[in-house]
Amino acid sequence: MSRILSSSIARKVAMALSALFLIIFLLIHLTVNITSLFSKDVFNELSHFMGTNFLVQFLMQPILIFGVVFHFVMGFVLELRNKRARTVKYVKYNGAANASWMSRNMAVSGGVILAFLVLHFIDFWFPEMNYKYIEVLPEDPTRYFEELQHKFTNPLRVGAYVIAFVLLALHLLHGFQSAFQSIGLNKYTNCVKSLGKIYAVAIPAGFIIIALFHYFNH
């Protein structure tokens, strides 16, 4: 069994499953956040639900954090192992001739996204954990919209978010269809590739629009 679990294919399938999980999470995250463009009350209501619901907080959130950590750790472990498979490099290597920049630089885009996540956690997750579980402040269901808007008053932060989401788009352009390929669903390649391109552009674009909207409307 350990021979199977440590095999290259088991690793890539595990990587793909964690990616598909994060792809679904991003869609849910955007669905909640996009409401902030249209209705302060709906956004507050949804955020309050996500922030106080027992299942979301104590089942889905730990699974999400595990999924994020697993995806990053596994990604960088695989990158290091792959580099060890060719210790003498080519003097001339024309990678652009046969593979996209995105597919060749998943560790680079992944690294930028990781740096963004640290910033994102400092901005939202740590203050939220502090509010609820350390200082145990009284729950205010109307605080979420102001907190969101306040974060996007700094142009440097907005710029960092935009750059991170561009890199996320590049990461997803390869990662979405790659995840399906890894779990063996090639029968739907054209459909998956098209869906992947739409998803890879639409989701990060949605987050960029949210950041810019609140920056120009605070």
């Binding site: 440590s6 290259s8 890539k12 060890r84 003498v88 290597y93 024309n94 597919s103 090639n186």
Partner: protein
């Protein structure tokens, strides 16, 4: 045409190796790349210098023996061909051409541009066959109905010549396209299904043991494969492996 060649020279497996520059003149655009290498070697022999070692055999794109990473691409800049089918008309007068061995720790350099690709043989020996003796008691293959679609896909996979361009092209030095082709050619046929589970598990285990990298679906292998083996075979390999292990 006149060309500058930067060629990897390495005396043996333990030698560190280095790029050495050579000039060749009056090269015909109709020559194959290996004929150009022959011309260079003859000039080296005439000067009492050590000729450059490189692999070749049939020179018809069938045997999978020739290799070479040319200007950063396995089998050079053309598509759907091996190095022996690459013609000098793909280059321009005055070009500088980088010629290196296929690089992967699983393909150690023996000398100059010659690499040891026995790792592929060991993967084949781990399961790339059907254990039926041709004793005369076996069923006639033509009496077993096989759909045209599967027969074509199997034949496409079986066209892999095991040259190693997939490994050389892959940024991770992954051999997954090779293994996928060898698994697929049997997995698609009823004759191969009997041992399908053991085959895929043993071949993947041997592939990992040889120290190849992990596939990240860049698709470089499919582009550089002289036989156009599709990465759809890798998805099939993944399915076969999952079905065999879950």
């Amino acid at each position: 045409m006149n060309l500058t060649l930067k060629i990897w020279r390495q005396k043996g497996p333990q030698d560190k190796g280095r790029m050495v520059e050579y000039k060749v003149t009056d090269i015909s655009e109709h020559m194959s790349f290996l004929e150009m290498m022959d011309v260079l070697n003859e000039s080296l022999v005439a000067k009492d210098e050590e000729p450059i070692a490189f692999d070749h055999d049939c020179r018809e794109g069938i045997c999978g023996m020739c290799s070479l990473q040319i200007n950063g691409e396995a089998h050079g800049p053309d598509r759907g061909i091996t190095t022996c089918q690459l013609h000098m008309r793909m280059f321009k007068d005055g070009d500088t051409i980088y010629i290196e061995p296929f690089r992967a720790n699983a393909f150690p350099v023996i000398k100059d541009l010659v690499v040891d690709r026995m790792a592929f043989e060991r993967i084949q020996q781990a399961g790339g066959y059907i254990s039926v003796n041709t004793s005369g008691n076996t069923q006639d293959a033509n009496s077993i109905p096989i759909s045209k679609h599967n027969a074509d896909l199997s034949m496409d996979a079986a066209s892999c010549i095991g040259c190693g361009a997939c490994v050389a092209s892959c940024k991770n030095s992954s051999a997954m396209l090779f293994v996928a082709a060898k698994v697929s050619q049997f997995a698609l046929l009823p004759q191969g299904k009997v041992e399908a589970k053991d085959r895929v598990k043993n071949m993947v285990f041997q592939m990992d043991l040889e120290g190849f990298g992990n596939c990240t679906n860049t698709g470089a292998c499919e582009i550089e494969c002289p036989k156009g083996i599709s990465i759809e075979n890798i998805a099939r390999l993944n399915r076969e492996y999952l079905a065999a292990t879950i």
